[in-house]
């Protein structure tokens, strides 16, 4: 475009010019700037100030000499082209008064610190600005609201104009805040200083105008002014920013899809004339401009000397400029639509804040970009729009998810936490999949997660890992994909499709720079979330080992291509695997069936075998379920309405904030239960592993349960339920064996448990032979996965058989 080509062409600085004093004529030229054309809004353009002609006398020679080492040419005269103020409101407002308001705010706003001392927030910043120690000034609209709520409204609706007003106010205030001389930082500072001095010297004493007025304000200012939106405004979705938002201060969220290089953009072009040496200024507000060619100075015009203007790079002002393109998040897009995008112009200090792929919230003024020249004539009907950035904040995706934003209302809380909420929540997981209540409960706990512990540098993970095994076609993948969608942060991958590198991290060579970069795999991307791995068994052995570390240490260590590092992978793993022979073969051991190494299996807190067993009742219910779906094209009505995914997510997020602890009093109970489990494992030659990891699993599950109840400490019921789940998961693996040998009714098992307890009592604690305390017995049974109801049933049954007696108060069982 023009300005750059122009630059290169006029790189040569013209030779020193004749010293001539000159009166300078003035001309007004209106450059179309961004003007507001909101729907139905009347448009009004204003010319800033009526043009006054300024005569600048030639400064004396000595003066010139003194500075000639700094200045490439003599500053002889000056002019600039008037710029209309970009904004016009519906009703003509008294903007001078508004400016005073801004000024007053900047001067007078203060907060009180802890000692009750007044802190002038903006005053301090103004001092920094005056000394060139700070570049950008953020006016927080929250602060403005404290002083003048009406002003905030005006600012939000007419942001561009108020940016100008505030900038003017700051500009006028700065000299008052200047406490000492400032050392010039760059050539432009020197220029500004000189220009001011020149003007003062050459000023007509009769002229009382403020000297700074003679130059375009943009040229003399070295600060940038931005607004910070009030915290009460909600970020909008890109597609909601419509024509009526034009000119308003809006906040949008999205993902950056493109960011250009930061380039200098001309803010004020400075020209010198090769004939008279006068300087001409041209403030630029539109993206393109037409360079001036002929010198408009009085002298050149009257003499018809045909003075040519040359662009002065050093005398011009440039600002950093970057253009971003943001696109709305995928969850904000209605189904079947393409995500919308928006252009954002970032200037000055707002550049280089975001990179492609970043999630950002950008506050800015939504403005139309009117085309000029031929394009305008042709396409006059259209206008492009952009967002002039004021404030860019990076946010990471988990934070900005809707769920965290609002607290659950009491009503919603009540709807969740009423009777049987545990079953209800579990049932709301994949409601379209029939049955599998315990599996769903386990998945619910996986979503909530246990409490992570890190005593003295040792880290014990809180995430719960679950492996689902099962015959083909038992909806494992559906459960996985449901969890994937429900979890706020998750990755879904299949064992077959992902290599070890795809799961952990890969070292890539950047195609552009040739640098080695580390690219995270699924497990890294799922950090603080859930990683669902389907077809776990199909993974190559070498790849599977990569998971070992993740599953216990929750990190991934990389030593590749000279990059040695450790990445966080604090994710819960939900794996699904098919049995090795297509179907689960009850005659073989678990390892043979699953073909996964024991080291890996023990890292799963829960292993579920979902088997497809014929059962007339269940089959009928299944059939009813499926036919209903086909008949009515929707879910069959259930006895409860499943909780919506969104509510679930928010509830789970709420639960995760709790950090329940295991109280001292429960420690013995848990230890005893663990010892019991170990003993049993030895006796029954258990094929699963009962190791120290099991104990940790129980703790994790119980803390997760406590979280789910929104409690700060684990209770006995939580531990019992955790052990019950463990038991059930083991049962699911062994069910076939036991059913092959003999069918044991729960009552029988409970009986044998109680008898065991009775003999234990004799041997260990010296209790009266054959007497068992009821509470103890019940606890034992419950920890084995029986419900209290079953226990009571068994109790009565055997009482009737006269095997044992229960005392009146029902506290003791005595064997006959």
């Amino acid at each position: 475009m023009h300005n750059n080509s122009q630059l290169s062409r006029h790189r040569k600085i013209p030779p020193l010019l004749a010293e001539r004093s000159d009166g300078i004529g003035c001309r007004t030229r209106q450059t179309r700037a961004s003007s507001c054309t909101a729907t139905g809004q009347k448009q009004e353009l204003q010319v800033n100030e009526s043009w006054s002609s300024v005569i600048v006398k030639d400064p004396r020679c000595q003066f010139k000499r003194a500075f000639c080492s700094l200045l490439p040419f003599w500053l002889v005269g000056s002019r600039y082209l008037a710029q209309e103020s970009p904004f016009a409101a519906m009703a003509r407002k008294d903007y001078a008064a508004e400016k005073e308001k801004c000024k007053r705010f900047l001067q007078e706003f203060y907060t009180e610190d802890d000692n009750g001392k007044k802190v002038f927030k903006y005053g301090a910043q103004l001092v920094a600005l005056a000394h060139r120690e700070q570049v950008s000034l953020f006016v927080e609209l929250d602060n403005v609201a404290e002083e003048d709520p009406e002003l905030v409204e005006n600012i939000c609706e007419n942001a561009k104009r108020y940016t100008g007003l505030f900038a003017d106010a700051v500009h006028e205030l700065l000299p008052e805040y200047k406490e000492r001389d400032v050392v010039a930082k760059d050539s432009l500072d020197v220029y500004i200083e000189h220009r001011l001095m020149m003007e003062q010297r050459g000023r007509d004493p009769a002229d009382t105008r403020d000297p700074r007025n003679q130059y375009p304000p943009e040229l003399m200012r070295r600060f940038e002014l931005y607004f910070k939106p009030p915290t009460t405004t909600k970020p909008k979705v890109v597609r909601d920013v419509r024509a009526e938002s034009i000119g308003h201060l809006v906040t949008v969220r999205g993902i950056v899809t493109r960011a250009t290089e930061v380039k200098p953009m001309m803010a004020v072009a400075t020209y010198t004339c090769d004939q008279c040496g006068a300087e001409t200024y041209q403030p630029i507000q539109s993206p393109s401009f037409m360079p001036l060619v002929m010198c408009p100075s009085q002298e050149c015009v009257t003499n018809k000397s045909g003075g040519r203007l040359y662009l002065q790079t050093r005398g011009s002002k440039f600002v950093k400029f970057q253009e971003l393109r943001i696109q709305e998040h995928s969850d904000q897009v209605p189904v079947g639509n393409i995500p919308r995008s928006m252009s954002v112009y970032a200037r000055g200090e707002n550049t280089r804040l975001a990179q492609p792929g970043d999630h950002v919230a950008i506050t800015g003024v939504f403005l139309p970009l009117l085309s000029t020249g031929f394009k305008q004539a042709v396409q006059g009907l259209l206008s492009e729009t952009y967002l002039e950035a004021h404030c860019i904040t990076l946010m990471n995706k988990t934070e900005d998810d809707e769920l965290g934003n609002e607290e659950l209302t009491d009503e919603e809380l009540r709807s969740i936490t009423d009777e049987g909420f545990y079953e209800k929540l579990a049932g709301s997981i994949a409601p379209e999949i029939y049955g599998h209540e315990d599996v769903k409960k386990a998945l619910l706990l996986l979503l909530v997660g246990g409490v992570e512990q890190a005593p003295k540098g040792m880290k014990i993970r809180g995430n719960i890992n679950i492996c689902l095994m099962g015959d083909p076609g038992v909806a494992k993948s559906q459960l996985l994909s449901y969890i994937d969608r429900l979890a706020p942060r998750s990755q879904y991958t299949t064992g077959r499709g992902s290599s070890g590198v795809g799961l952990t991290a890969a070292v890539m060579r950047d195609p552009l720079t040739g640098e080695m970069t580390l690219e995270g795999g699924a497990l890294v991307l799922a950090d603080l979330g859930i990683c669902c791995i389907d077809e776990f068994d199909k993974m190559a052995d070498a790849d599977r080992t990569a998971i070992h570390e993740v599953m216990e240490q929750q990190t991934i260590s990389i030593a590749k291509a000279g990059i040695m590092t450790s990445l966080n992978a604090r994710c819960a793993i939900l794996a699904a695997a098919n049995p090795a022979y297509g179907r689960y073969n009850p005659k073989k051991s678990i390892e043979q069936n699953i073909q996964l190494p024991a080291a890996l299996l023990s890292r799963f807190d829960l292993l579920w075998l979902i088997q497809d067993k014929p059962d007339a009742d269940a089959d009928l219910r299944l059939a009813q379920h499926i036919t209903y779906v086909h008949q009515h094209c929707r879910q069959p009505p259930t006895h409860f309405t499943p909780i919506s995914m969104k509510l679930m997510r928010r509830y789970i997020a709420l639960c995760k904030k709790r950090q329940p602890v295991v109280p001292e009093s429960l420690a013995d109970y848990i230890t005893a239960a663990y010892v019991e489990m170990r003993k049993e494992a030895r006796v029954s030659k258990d094929t699963t592993f009962t190791s120290a990891r099991t104990l940790l699993s129980i703790l994790r599950l119980s803390t997760a349960l406590a979280r789910l109840r929104m409690m700060d400490s684990v209770e006995k019921e939580d531990v019992n339920e955790a052990m019950r789940l463990m038991e059930m998961s083991k049962d699911s693996l062994q069910a076939d064996k036991s059913s092959g040998k003999r069918t044991q009714r729960p009552a029988d098992v409970i009986f044998s448990l109680v008898r065991e307890l009775a003999t234990e009592g004799v041997a260990g604690r010296g209790g009266a032979g054959g007497v068992v305390r009821m509470a103890e017995a019940e606890q034992r049974c419950v920890s084995r996965g029986f419900t209290p109801a079953q226990f009571q049933e068994a109790l009565e049954e055997y009482e009737e058989l006269n095997v044992w007696q229960v005392n009146q108060a029902r506290t003791r069982i005595t064997f006959v």
Partner: protein, 634 residues
């Protein structure tokens, strides 16, 4: 035939008239009135056939700013644009001002010596949405011809071109078509073009200098399928654009805008765009090219009215489904009566084509009338992907089969799953952030398109990452009827309803709902002669109509039958729990549904259920025989 009415030739005059009258009167509802006006006009008998269609009339025969229609698929949605809904023109000489309406146009219009007053306070900014539309991908030649044949639009060609084509009935040109429908993309236009009579062939000749060269050299019109032709269009939508979804098929009635100024604009930008300029960097040259291509290649269409198309079968009236239900009833009842007989005909035809295998023929019918009728959460209901295994590789059996399917369904696509294709082709649409558009892929298809996957072309070799992701995409499409479009930073799910037919030698590597092993009754040497017979056009039309109607029928299951189905299932599980699972029940219910529909029955009878069960048993026993030994597979 009456001469073309003004509202077709000069729709903008109508709009301007309504606008002007609204300015005087108090009513401000002129926008709705304008839309109503055109809707009413189009409702008149046959009125819509007078409107020339962009699909079959070359662009340069159409009058700029006239009403045209376009049968298309929404391929991409651009960002909304702001335009001057009302603008003012001023005559500097007389100082008179005039308000004009900027709706439905791209370029401001003003009289001699008038100027547009950009700073007028009467300017109203409004918003409109742009969709990038392409002709329905994979639309078969007979559909195009038939639509073209029914058009009564009076397009006056500029030169010696004789518009006989517009009137030609379908029968005249089918001899030409039957022979060479398959490789129609590569087909060379030959001398006998009048007999040949394919719409886009002619366009190919007439437009060769402009569009062919243009599109080949620098402008990719972004058709989902390779080798597609026809105009693509930027459709500007003024009302209610949220109701349109990506991949919807529409018939758009709108005002054609091909102002050369639009192209001049693009050129000007091109010339002036320097890579260093900050303003131009916002819209890269590439983006510019995509979003405002030359109007001669990609015309603009300002939508007045759009009709969602539930099908694109020209033999079936397109409007009636909601409006004149009497007509629909009549049509339905007549076809319903015929359905069993047509079905027998079709069955015998397919049996013949499938080398004498009646069971495979039955399943092929079911497959062709299947459609996703509902989605239960993630699970699509009603999909019926057929894997035809045991296809002979000799005598290009699969190509012939596809050619026959092509003759029967409105839109279809043949994808040879050769290694090269899988590694090279772009199946999944991808967002191109540089040009800011959705680069189309083969899987961006309209609903109910038949996708024919030829796995017999697969040979051993290495799939590269593209190939792997392509196969995954196909797998997802089959099991979930959705395609994950690649948006670089994330993926977006778009659900679809595509009938996938996989022809393979053994069991396909892709999942499928139903696998039928072909049992040829014909010795291989005779195959070629055996397959080369095709029914006559009239008969073909009957079959085509049958397939489309069967798909649109409603269907229900009574409680009574439900009960017996449930009991049946429990019994089956009792007998053989290992081989009957929930998935099987799902499939059997779908088979039963399709079977009933294919017979023209709109509810499930016990009879059909048993028949479906029987078919399934036959099929399963056949699959058992050919089961390859693969321990890990279900």
């Amino acid at each position: 035939m009456p001469s073309t009415p003004d509202w077709i030739n000069e729709p903008l005059a109508v709009v301007q008239g309504l606008f002007a009258s609204s300015q005087n009167g108090p009513s401000s509802e002129w926008e709705a009135k304008a839309v109503e006006f055109f809707k009413d006009r189009l409702k008149e008998k046959d009125a819509h056939t007078w409107v020339p269609s962009l699909n079959d009339v070359p662009l340069h025969y159409l009058k700029p700013n006239s009403l045209v229609k376009f049968r298309c698929l929404i391929q991409d949605m651009f960002d909304p644009e702001f335009y001057m809904g009302v603008y003012e023109t001023a005559d500097p000489a007389t100082k008179t001002k005039e308000l004009r309406c900027g709706k439905y146009r791209d370029v401001t219009e003003c009289g001699v010596r008038q100027q547009v007053d950009y700073n007028s306070r009467n300017t109203v900014t409004a918003e409109r949405q742009t969709f990038y539309c392409v002709p329905i991908p994979g639309e078969n030649a007979w559909v195009k011809d038939s639509y073209a044949g029914s058009s009564q639009a009076r397009v006056v060609p500029s030169t010696s071109y004789a518009p006989s084509r517009q009137k030609r009935s379908y029968e005249e040109d089918d001899e030409g078509d039957d022979m060479d429908t398959q490789p129609q993309k590569q087909r060379e236009p030959h001398s006998g073009q009048y007999q040949h009579g394919n719409g886009d062939c002619k366009r190919l000749e007439t437009e060769a200098p402009s569009s062919q060269v243009g599109s080949a050299s620098h402008l990719d019109l972004n058709f989902p399928l390779p080798g597609e032709k026809g105009p693509s269009c930027l459709v500007k939508v003024y009302e209610d654009w949220d109701s349109f979804k990506l991949n919807d098929t529409l018939e758009v009635y709108g005002i054609l805008s091909v102002s050369p100024a639009l192209s001049a604009l693009a050129d000007e930008k091109d010339a002036s765009s320097s890579f260093l300029d900050p303003s131009e960097s916002m819209e890269t040259a590439e983006e510019q090219r995509v979003h405002s291509p030359p109007a001669s290649l990609v015309p603009r269409l300002h939508m007045l009215y759009a009709k969602m198309l539930r099908h694109n079968n020209p033999l079936l009236p397109s409007v009636p489904l909601e409006d004149n239900s009497a007509c629909k009833e009549e049509l339905l009842s007549s076809t319903l009566r015929d359905m069993p007989s047509v079905r027998t005909e079709l069955l015998s035809f397919f049996t013949h084509v499938l080398l004498g295998d009646a069971l495979a023929a039955e399943y092929l019918i079911l497959h062709l009338i299947s459609t996703v009728y509902s989605r239960r959460d993630v699970l699509p209901l009603g999909k019926f992907t057929l894997n035809l295994s045991g296809c002979p590789t000799a005598a290009s059996f699969t190509e012939r089969l596809y050619r026959i399917i092509q003759q029967l369904v409105p839109s279809s696509f043949y994808l040879g799953m050769s290694l090269q294709n899988m590694n090279r082709m772009r199946l999944v649409p991808k967002k191109d952030y540089v040009a800011n558009r959705l680069v189309s892929g083969v899987l961006q298809l309209a609903s109910n398109t038949s996708l024919f996957l030829d796995e017999t072309q697969l040979e051993p070799g290495q799939l590269d990452p593209t190939g792997v992701s392509n196969v995954t995409a196909l797998g997802n499409l089959i099991s979930w009827q959705k395609v994950d479009y690649d948006f670089n930073y994330h993926q977006m799910e778009f659900s679809c309803s595509i009938n996938v037919l996989i022809a393979s030698e053994g069991r396909s590597l892709l999942p499928s709902d139903c696998q039928v092993h072909l049992q040829s009754q014909v010795p291989p040497p005779h195959m070629e002669d055996y397959m080369s017979s095709i029914p006559l056009t009239a008969q073909l039309n009957k079959l085509r109509l049958y397939l489309s109607v069967a798909r649109l029928l409603d269907y229900s299951i009574s409680d009574e039958v439900t009960k017996s189905v449930e009991d049946d299932f429990v019994d089956m599980r009792k007998d053989d729990p290992q081989s009957v699972s929930a998935d099987d029940l799902h499939r059997m219910l779908v088979v039963a549904r399709l079977l009933s529909l294919s017979l023209g029955q709109t509810s499930l009878s016990r009879d059909s259920w048993h028949r479906a069960k029987h078919m399934e048993e036959l099929r399963r026993s056949r699959v058992e025989q050919h089961k390859s030994v693969n321990g890990n597979e279900p």
